[in-house]
């Protein structure tokens, strides 16, 4: 059943030069021709079903209020039809009907009568209205002594308790304190359940999203979009940004403006963040420190660390970040670890002597609280699983070896893991015996991770290289490295970002009202496919695993925008709540060949750090 039917609605306001000839204009025979017509609404048509909750959004001056006033009957349309089924009540400009000399109760009767209620009906409702307004004994006082909040609460209480089939709300929910706003929303929900048709007008997309299934976007008096809330609001937000982009387009180059990044910003950025996350971090040859007695030779080859031990009678040690296993790494901010968490230290070390690898954990006062280690020689575990104690704060990694022989350190990676992964990672894996000629054949640390995560790649106690190669070709998707990717952003004074150590650091004081986007694939807005399509291609009909690694103090949304060959756009949005670290999502690509672009959207005050985005093909685990 239709509650509202609007057909070809047009409302024209006559703009004129400053003159007093309004009376003349009113009479047709005197009307001048040179008036300028302003279309507040232009050929607007839509239907509203009974019980629907519809959000109407649009920028200021888009015709929202005019539409409402026509629906409530206050304004007459210039042309077009509006048919309304049922009683309409509106919550517009709260408190305007009040007589400020009269008391709250008297005003309830007065305003109630304006809403078209009989005295009898009002007498039945008055207790509920007073309870809803919740302004205590003030209800017996003249309205003129009320605070503005009280006026609004009383007004809302009256308007909300007016029983009607169609309720029109204009920006009314933005008033009052949180408790009252909550009450209002509850009340709205009750009305919705009762089957009241609600039209909610606002420019706050969040309210619309939480309330309405359908939204209408008005722009310059016309319906720009009429669809489900999610798509309308996202298009609307995008439009707002595009609009802003256009206004700023006379500024030369977006990136140039971002370059000057002074020390002040740096400290601001580093403070709220633990610079290098250990959720997943890799250490390479250059990161290692060597003990004092250097009875061994070290050389690096292809980023690998090759140690030739001469076999003295003592242990030799390598340290990550610090010069001794008992002291904290000098750069301790790079070695922060979360307490009460399972970690796996994955190492890819090929050796023919006995070595020990371990992790030392320190508390916040830099005191050593625990260390854990693995010893291996010919037989080895490829991952060291441990759980951090409650007061863990920092860590260091060390390697100890003894005897005459060679060690090839491919890489070490510390990885936060979950329960399921723990089981996989604690499986025994074959070791890689060091062979001088076979350096290049050694597995990379990410290969090892792949093996560990997909342990069915182990066949008869050995790595199934064929399966691994296959998996690698399939799954080694696209890891977005922040340093090599060009990112674009609209500048905002309250938003700083930079790329440091391969991580994207963001510092935002935007508050909860604004979104800021950072995106790739060219400086153009996200409506068009990436500039260089070859760099951003997704295979068709594939499920991808999207891995976002970072630390988030603020709410962040990650957009993957996929374009098919016809440039038809599909959005996948993943929300990352504050305090999250790494997050994995599944992403299904479209049936045809696709191109993608990435964007981050930030809201709130705080920092976040993005270490890596990895998109790779999902491989089904048996």
């Amino acid at each position: 059943m239709l509650a509202i039917k609007v057909e070809n609605l047009t409302k024209i306001y006559r703009l004129q030069d400053i003159s007093n000839s309004k009376l003349k204009d009113t009479f047709k025979f005197l009307r001048k021709k040179h008036q300028k017509d302003f279309f507040a609404l232009k050929d607007v048509s839509f239907d509203v079903q009974k019980g629907e909750v519809i959000g109407i959004i649009g920028v200021n001056g888009s015709g929202k209020s005019t539409l409402l006033k026509i629906l409530t009957g206050v304004l007459q349309p210039t042309s077009g039809n509006v048919s309304i089924n049922g009683k309409v009540s509106s919550i517009i400009e709260l408190g305007t009907g009040f007589n400020h000399e009269l008391t709250g109760i008297e005003n309830i009767y007065l305003t109630g009568s304006l809403f078209g209620f009989s005295k009898q009906e009002l007498e039945n409702k008055i207790d509920e209205i007073i309870r809803f307004a919740d302004i205590g004994d003030f209800v017996k006082q003249p309205v003129k002594i009320y605070s503005s909040g009280m006026v609004v609460r009383l007004a809302f209480a009256i308007a909300a308790n007016v029983e009607s089939d169609i309720l029109i709300i204009d920006e009314a929910l933005a008033v009052g304190d949180v408790k009252f706003a909550f009450k209002c929303i509850n009340h709205m929900n009750r009305l919705v359940k009762k089957g009241t048709t609600i039209l909610l007008v606002t420019h706050d997309t969040q309210t619309v999203k939480s309330f309405c299934k359908r939204a209408i976007w008005l722009h310059e008096g016309q319906i720009k979009m009429d669809s489900d809330t999610q798509s309308v609001t996202s298009q609307y937000i995008r439009f707002l940004f595009e609009h802003e982009l256009k206004m700023e387009s006379d500024q030369p180059d977006i990136d140039e403006q971002l370059e000057p990044y002074d020390e002040h910003d740096k400290t601001e950025l580093s403070e709220p963040l633990d610079a290098k996350t250990v959720d997943s971090c890799e250490f390479h040859s250059k990161d290692w420190f060597f003990g004092k007695s250097k009875d061994f030779e070290v050389k690096t080859d292809n980023g690998l660390l090759l140690i030739d031990s001469h076999g003295s009678e003592e242990f030799h040690q390598l340290f990550l970040g610090s010069s001794s296993p008992n002291t904290l790494p000098e750069n301790f901010n790079d070695f922060v670890i979360s307490p009460n968490q399972e970690y796996a230290l994955i190492y890819n070390i090929a050796t023919n002597i006995k070595i020990r690898i371990g992790v030392t954990i320190y508390d916040s006062s830099n005191k050593l609280i625990e260390f854990t280690h693995n010893i291996f020689s010919k037989e080895s575990n490829k991952a060291l699983i441990f759980r951090t104690p409650e007061n863990a704060k920092f860590f260091s990694i060390w390697i100890e070896f003894f005897g005459k022989g060679k060690i090839l350190i491919n890489g070490v990676k510390l990885l936060k893991i979950n329960e399921d992964e723990k089981n996989i990672f604690s499986q025994k894996f074959p070791e890689f015996i060091y062979e001088e000629n076979n350096i290049n054949k050694a597995l990379s640390i990410s290969d090892l991770e792949l093996i560990l995560r997909n342990y069915h790649l182990i066949k008869d106690g050995a790595v199934d290289f064929k399966a691994l190669e296959e998996l690698k070709s399939k799954s080694d998707g696209i890891a977005v490295n922040f340093e090599n990717t060009k990112w674009h952003i609209l500048t905002d004074e309250k938003f700083h970002w930079k790329i440091q150590n391969g991580s994207l650091l963001v510092n935002s004081n935007l508050g909860n009202d604004n979104f800021q986007y950072i995106w790739t694939g060219g400086s153009s807005w996200l409506d068009s496919p990436p500039d260089d399509k070859s760099l951003y291609t997704l295979e068709p009909n594939t499920t991808f695993e999207l891995n976002i690694d970072g630390k988030f103090q603020i709410k962040t949304r990650f957009w993957v925008i996929i374009f098919d060959e016809k440039n038809q756009r599909t959005d996948r949005i993943f929300t990352i709540e504050p305090e999250n670290r790494a997050k994995e999502f599944l992403l299904e690509s479209i049936s045809s060949l696709g191109y993608y672009r990435l964007a981050f959207e930030f809201i709130g005050n705080g920092s976040c750090q993005l270490n890596e985005i990895r998109i790779r093909k999902k491989i089904k685990n048996e």
Partner: protein, 272 residues
């Protein structure tokens, strides 16, 4: 708010349908005029009492005003002055009432002339109180006037005056929305009207040949009617031509008002 398809019957029905709203608004309008002041509602009594007293002191004690047409001066004067004050002050307010209540009209859908009717009703209450004071004044020894059956006629004249007030309020009120100068034009008309209406002077001083010109003023009929009822025991049908003329004019003005409402009220929200 406005409805260009409204019929005359529909226009009138609007007021019957909204009688409760009118009652509520009248109550609140009435209250706001007196609420908060120290004497409160007693001003309704005090005001006319003091006015009457001043006139008595000035004209009877001071100027030694002689009775006019065989009636003491003060009752005679008040019979003209009270309806005139009611008419002029209420019309002045009603002319601006639409603009003043723009905020309400933009929010609620209702016939804007309702506000004028409300104002007329609340002023009427005050006016009736003044008349009661007048009646009490008549009873005291200084200016005895005898209660007669003709006093009932005053109800007829109150109705006639209110109706005239409504018709003129409609016209001036609606035009004022589009043409702000109406406010000033009206105040000129009212000032002129004060002297062209037989309030301070008796129609008997006008030569018979020119009297019809003064009778064109509808207030002439009302004020004469007040005096006829209270002081001279003359029935309202005695001067039948003036009565017919008055009703013809009032209804004609009302139709003009209705026509203006029908044509212009849809444009109110655009103008306000």
């Amino acid at each position: 708010m406005g409805n260009s398809n409204i019929t005359l019957i529909g226009f009138l029905k609007d007021f019957f349908r909204n009688k409760q709203l009118i009652a509520e608004l009248t109550k609140s309008d009435f209250k706001t005029n007196y609420i908060g002041s120290f004497f409160g509602l007693s001003w309704i009594v005090i005001q006319p009492l003091i006015l009457t007293f001043i006139f008595w002191v000035v004209f009877v004690v001071g100027y030694k005003a002689t009775p006019i047409e065989g009636v003491s001066f003060v009752p005679w004067l008040l019979c003209g002055l009270l309806p005139w004050n009611f008419f002029s002050s209420c019309l002045a307010i009603n002319t601006n009432i639409i603009t003043q209540n723009a905020h309400l009209l933009k929010k609620f859908k209702f016939n804007i002339s309702l506000m004028q009717v409300v104002k007329i009703l609340s002023s009427l209450i005050v006016h009736i109180f003044s008349l009661m004071i007048l009646i009490i004044f008549f009873q005291i020894k200084i200016a005895p006037v005898h209660i007669t059956i003709f006093w009932i006629q005053i109800i007829y004249y109150l109705f006639a005056l209110s109706f005239l007030l409504w018709s003129t309020s409609l016209i001036f009120g609606i035009l004022q929305v589009f043409f702000k100068d109406v406010t000033h034009i009206l105040s000129l008309i009212l000032q002129m009207g004060f002297f062209l209406t037989p309030i301070f002077w008796s129609p008997h001083i006008i030569p018979e040949n020119y009297l019809f010109l003064f009778k064109l003023n509808p207030l002439y009929y009302i004020i004469n009617g007040y005096r006829d009822s209270f002081l001279f025991q003359v029935p309202f049908w005695e001067d039948l031509t003036t009565t017919i003329y008055f009703w013809f004019l009032t209804l004609f003005l009302f139709l003009i008002g209705y026509f203006l409402y029908k044509k212009l009220s849809p444009k109110f929200a655009d103008e306000l």
